[in-house]
């Protein structure tokens, strides 16, 4: 681990001339002024002209706006309302370069986005029968099971099925770097209509079941040739009946059957409940452990799911499964703004509710042989409405950490709490600290009374990490702030992280006033953002960071609405 020491600290309070200029105060009333998000898409320094941009507002209506790129790779999405947006890029044959950040970047009107893309990898080969004849028009798909760093992906990514041609040749392109397994046959991710191999057990390359499938390591722009000897086995049937509560909508229930590999959901297949009583049926199911659940989306936008059930298919059909769906959880709450009367805070921009996002991050359960949980449904993030209220819908059962993001340098996240309701185990009226503990959601239940308090008086700290001699800064370098005051050690909201950019600059804002220790290090324990650093589950990682920072003895005191700039750290 590279070590840094704090060379000297300047506590000049008056000079605001640092990279992040002090924002001008914004009127509180919502304006109808529209604006743009612009940017550029490059690969190897060249414009990616077949890229397309999707700009999606973080709000209840998640309709996207789309923009093409011009000959220089530039794009502009015009006519956008004030708000928080996600910006995504796709280009046939290309993939986005991994950022290494675990926190999704949000953009606002006026922002500019730079995307770098890589040529995707290719897996190609032939599918042949037992007597080496080409298997024609069978669906083949590549399943990404590990990322480019060899880490298991939480949900295996299925790429679009490609069909073999008349010579039995398939070609899957635009693949992200990572580790893949490839399979042919069976009902795939996308429907091409009736296919003669739909009811077969998928054959994995080279001629295997899922358990013994060859793992294919694929780099960017790399092409691998993988042949499959097709087995065309019939497999077993899994059948049952799924129900939904009577309501205004006619249920069209989908049933999902996910293979469990080492306890974690792998590739899933889906089918539909045939009618109110006629049940569902999967055929071509290979021996193995599975998770099965039913779900349906009502026209009112609610998703209903059944409790997931683990089943084992071993040499026989599994029939008579009963799955009954219940609504997913809803979390409702409010943002509370606590302004400051201090002179130093006068005229500072206050957070705008339509740029304030609350995100629920589900705790990743360790994969075990006996436990498995439902995947997540939909986006667990939303902006507040004009009065600061928010509702997150369609949340899968599990434990969640709550994250709040807003745009106002001199405000900080003071607390996240929940008023316990009569139905919960805690005494009604008692307040639960959701910054320190996870929020537990169960099927068919909701959580209300969540309160996110934003207080005026946050401080900002910016500066430069210098190197000695010809040394260059390592990638993924972060500056962390940890509380120096003993009674705040357990408060996750007292911790902050900021990435050091390629030029050594860093900037941290929205810091609660107080005394802190500073530490600069590479992103150990995956603490690459406030989101992971402040997670209720990161208790041990924070404690470790705190001990390291304590030994460094580099302290900084931040006063309400103070802007500390020009901080210098030297790399040794």
């Amino acid at each position: 681990m590279a070590k840094f020491t704090l060379a000297f600290a300047i506590a000049l309070m008056v000079q605001p001339a640092h990279a992040q200029s002090t924002p001008k105060p914004t009127p509180e009333t919502a304006t109808t002024k529209l604006g743009s998000i612009t940017g550029r898409v490059l690969a190897d320094g060249q414009p990616v002209i077949n890229a397309s941009i999707a700009v999606t507002r973080v709000s209840a209506t998640t309709a996207s706006r789309f923009a093409p790129v011009n000959d220089n790779g530039d794009f502009e999405a015009k006519g956008l309302d004030t708000g928080v947006y996600r910006v995504g890029v796709t280009a046939p044959g290309y993939v986005t370069t991994p950022t290494g950040l675990d926190q999704e970047p949000y953009y606002r009107v006026g922002d500019s986005v730079m995307f770098t893309m890589l040529k995707g990898g290719v897996i190609t080969g032939r599918v042949l029968s037992a007597d080496d004849e080409p298997v024609v028009a069978v669906r083949v798909r590549a399943i990404r099971i590990r990322d480019e760093n060899g880490k298991l992906v939480s949900a295996p990514e299925l790429n679009i099925d490609r069909l073999t041609d008349d010579r039995g040749i398939y070609r899957i392109f635009g693949l992200r770097p990572g580790t893949y397994v490839v399979s042919a046959g069976g009902r795939g991710s996308s429907g091409y209509g009736v296919n003669g191999y739909d009811h077969d057990v998928p054959t994995y390359a080279p001629s295997s079941t899922r358990d013994t499938a060859a793992e294919i390591l694929l780099g960017a722009a790399e092409e691998k040739t993988i042949d499959i000897h097709y087995r065309g086995e019939a497999g077993h049937v899994v059948s049952g009946n799924a129900t939904a509560p009577a309501g205004p909508d006619s249920p069209w229930i989908s049933i999902n059957l996910a293979r469990l590999i080492a306890g974690a959901p792998d590739v899933k297949m889906s089918t539909y409940q045939n009618s109110g009583t006629k049940g569902f049926e999967f055929s071509g199911v290979a021996d193995g452990d599975y998770l099965i659940w039913a779900q349906y989306a009502s026209t009112s936008g609610d998703t209903l799911v059944s409790e997931p059930r683990r089943i084992i298919v071993r040499g026989a059909d599994v029939n008579g499964l009963e799955l009954s769906t219940k609504p997913l959880a809803t979390v409702a709450g409010e943002f509370v703004l606590v302004p400051s009367t201090l002179e130093a805070c006068k005229g500072k921009r206050r957070p705008s509710f339509d740029e304030t996002v609350v995100t629920l991050q589900r705790k990743q359960k360790p994969s075990t042989k006996t436990e498995a949980e439902l995947p997540s449904f939909g986006a667990a993030q939303v902006t507040a409405n004009n009065s600061g209220n928010f509702v997150l819908r369609n949340l899968a059962p599990g434990q969640y950490g709550l994250e709040a993001r807003f745009f106002a340098h001199y405000w900080y996240l003071q607390s996240i709490t929940q008023r316990a309701t009569a139905s919960s185990k805690e005494i009604a009226g008692q307040t639960i600290d959701l910054a320190r503990s996870s929020l537990t959601l169960r099927l068919g239940e909701g959580a209300t009374g969540v309160r996110v308090t934003l207080a005026e008086g946050g401080a900002t700290l910016s500066g430069q990490v210098e190197t000695t001699g010809n040394q260059s800064l390592p990638a993924q370098l972060f500056v962390y702030l940890v509380p120096a005051e003993k009674e705040k050690v357990d408060d996750p909201l007292q911790y902050s992280a900021a990435q050091v950019d390629g030029h050594g600059a860093f900037a941290i804002d929205q810091v609660a006033p107080g005394r802190y220790w500073l530490i600069t290090k590479t992103a150990a324990d995956n603490l690459s953002s406030n989101k992971s650093l402040r997670s209720p589950d990161a208790h041990e990682a924070r404690a470790k960071l705190w001990r390291e920072a304590e030994s460094m003895k580099s302290e900084v005191a931040l006063k309400p609405c103070q802007n500390v700039s020009g901080y210098s750290l030297v790399f040794k």
Partner: protein
């Protein structure tokens, strides 16, 4: 064939699903379908033959049962309940002589209880291949773009319907290479880029000007590619000009009543080709806080911006048509109106028992809305309340056709709609509604029963050629409403099941060459559990030209 536009619409809206034929009544006697897959007068082994139930096949998914041919090319699918089936061999590299050119593909077999239908044969010939590469002017591969194949000649066009998965699914790979196989011998033109480019360009993709092999814009100048049976045409390359970006259309949604801008409206784009709305695409966004809408990257063409049907909005409306030529179009105004409501009751004919009434919850009211001036309808589904009442809306001004459908989209409705009336007037052809209007008292009379009407259609000289399409409709005497319809199978037979007791007319219409048709009708009486037979003998020589 007045029913065709509607059924085409339903297909477009259906999603993929699987329906598995399951035993509902184990006492029912089962039937079988057998046949042979033949190539060069010999049986072909190892071909998967699939069978799907009529209606189900329309949904695009439905591989229901399958059989693999034996060494002599024979297949047998057994244990089938009575019904109408589509049978089709999965032979993607071959051309199936029995390709009909209509969807769903396959031979139609109307199977009676405990019947075995034999000789459902299929004839295969080796398919041809056309392959090539698409590059832009700079020599770069054109990746993941759709290739369009134009068959030259009507016969070839019919057989191209056997291309798997479909003639619209041919795309270039990361090298710009495409490969089309299973083609009938014949002549073709190959092109890239098309007049519906807005479907992908408004999702942010650049588009290519329509270009035929080898590098020409005009179809007349396209080089014709000819392939023989089992032959392969290679290097059918296309060089396109640089991809282009389009122009934007922007404007505002204005409430027609008070002139105020309307925010938060989900809108879509209507593509107008040849003066007619030819495509509608959704997912273009939501109007901004000042009622503004904007769609970027439109290729030159004629368009309109409209409120998305079923968006949950009480409004409907669209902009007037506008042209994109060589610049952005701004300041469009889309006047929006409050929708109309239709309410009424579903009434069950006769005096059905309570279990039948309870099953009404599995049915829905299906409304096809034909907006004024539009020739694309939109479909809405409304649930029926336990007391039989329903309310449909908000609807735009135009004609609303009310029907009954199954709440579970992938099974046929249990109930038959017998009449639609408003104050005693037959409204089955549709109800005219104006903006903001409330229409109440619509009666949907439905029947429930277990009668079967089975029939056959033949010519005066003998069996009809299976190539002749015969539309068979079931109606009540004196009522225009088609209760249900089907078509002739390969043997000239048809069947209606779950027919409520009562008096009916069966109307058959044979569609002949030269746009001529022959119609005949016969009265039929049915009761619960009864099987009624009806036979039609058509004089095909007395076919009048249909009235326009």
């Amino acid at each position: 064939m007045s029913s065709l536009p509607r059924s085409a619409l339903i297909i477009a809206l259906s999603l993929t699903c699987v329906y598995i034929v399951k035993s509902q009544d184990t006492r029912a006697k089962r039937g079988s379908i057998t046949g042979r897959v033949i190539a060069a007068n010999k049986g072909v082994a190892g071909v998967t033959v699939s069978i799907s139930m009529s209606g189900d096949a329309l949904s695009g998914g439905g591989l229901t049962l399958k059989s693999v041919t034996d060494d002599d090319g024979r297949f047998r699918i057994s244990n089938l309940p009575a019904g109408t089936y589509y049978v089709w061999p999965f032979a993607p590299a071959s051309v199936v002589a029995e390709a009909t050119g209509v969807s769903p593909q396959g031979k139609v077999v109307a199977l009676a209880e405990a019947e075995t239908v034999e000789d459902v044969d299929f004839h295969l010939t080796p398919g041809a291949v056309i392959t090539g590469r698409v590059t832009d002017a700079a020599g770069r591969p054109v990746i993941d773009e759709r290739i369009r194949l134009l068959p030259v000649g009507a016969d070839v066009r019919r057989l191209t319907s056997s291309i798997y998965p479909g003639i619209n699914d041919i795309r270039t790979d990361d090298r710009g290479v495409y490969r089309i196989f299973g083609l009938p011998a014949g002549k073709y033109k190959v092109s890239i880029g098309d007049e519906y480019g807005a479907f992908t360009s408004t999702k942010g993709r650049r588009f290519f000007p329509r270009t035929f092999h080898p590098d020409v814009a005009e179809e007349a100048k396209a080089e014709v590619v000819e392939v023989t049976e089992g032959g392969e045409a290679t290097n059918v390359d296309i060089t396109v000009a640089r991809s282009m970006t389009g122009f934007s259309a922007s404007g505002r949604f204005i409430d027609a009543e008070n002139g105020q801008p309307v925010p938060n409206i989900s809108f879509g784009l209507t593509i107008i080709v040849g003066g007619r709305p030819s495509g509608f695409m959704s997912g273009n966004g939501v109007s901004t806080s000042d009622g503004g809408f904007r769609i970027d990257n439109l290729p030159p063409g004629r368009y309109a911006v409209s409120i998305l049907p079923r968006s949950g909005s009480v409004f409907y409306g669209e902009s007037s048509a506008f042209d994109i030529t060589d610049g952005d179009v701004t300041d469009l105004e889309a006047k929006v109106h409050r929708g109309a409501l239709i309410s009424g009751n579903v009434v069950i004919e006769g005096s059905p028992d309570r279990s039948v009434l309870a099953r009404l919850a599995q049915a829905r009211v299906e409304t096809v809305m034909w907006a004024e001036g539009a020739n694309i309808g939109t479909v809405n589904y409304t649930n029926i309340n336990p007391d039989g009442s329903f309310q449909v809306g908000p609807l735009q001004a135009g004609k609303a056709t009310l029907r009954l459908s199954s709440a579970d989209r992938n099974v046929p409705a249990e109930f038959a709609l017998l009449s639609v009336d408003l104050n005693g007037v037959d409204k089955s052809p549709g109800i005219q509604v104006t903006a903001g209007e409330n229409i109440s008292g619509v009666r949907l009379v439905v029947g429930y029963g277990t009668g079967t009407i089975r029939g056959s259609v033949r010519g005066e000289g003998g069996a009809l050629s299976p190539d002749i399409y015969v539309y068979v409709a079931l109606v009540r005497p004196g009522n225009a409403l088609t209760i249900t319809s089907t078509r002739n199978d390969a043997r000239g037979r048809f069947v209606f099941e779950r027919v409520p007791p009562g008096n009916y007319e069966v109307v058959v219409t044979a569609y002949l060459d030269n746009n001529k048709r022959v119609t005949a009708r016969q009265p039929v009486v049915t009761s619960d559990g009864a099987i009624t037979e009806v036979t039609f003998t058509l004089n095909l020589n007395e076919a009048p030209t249909p009235k326009p």
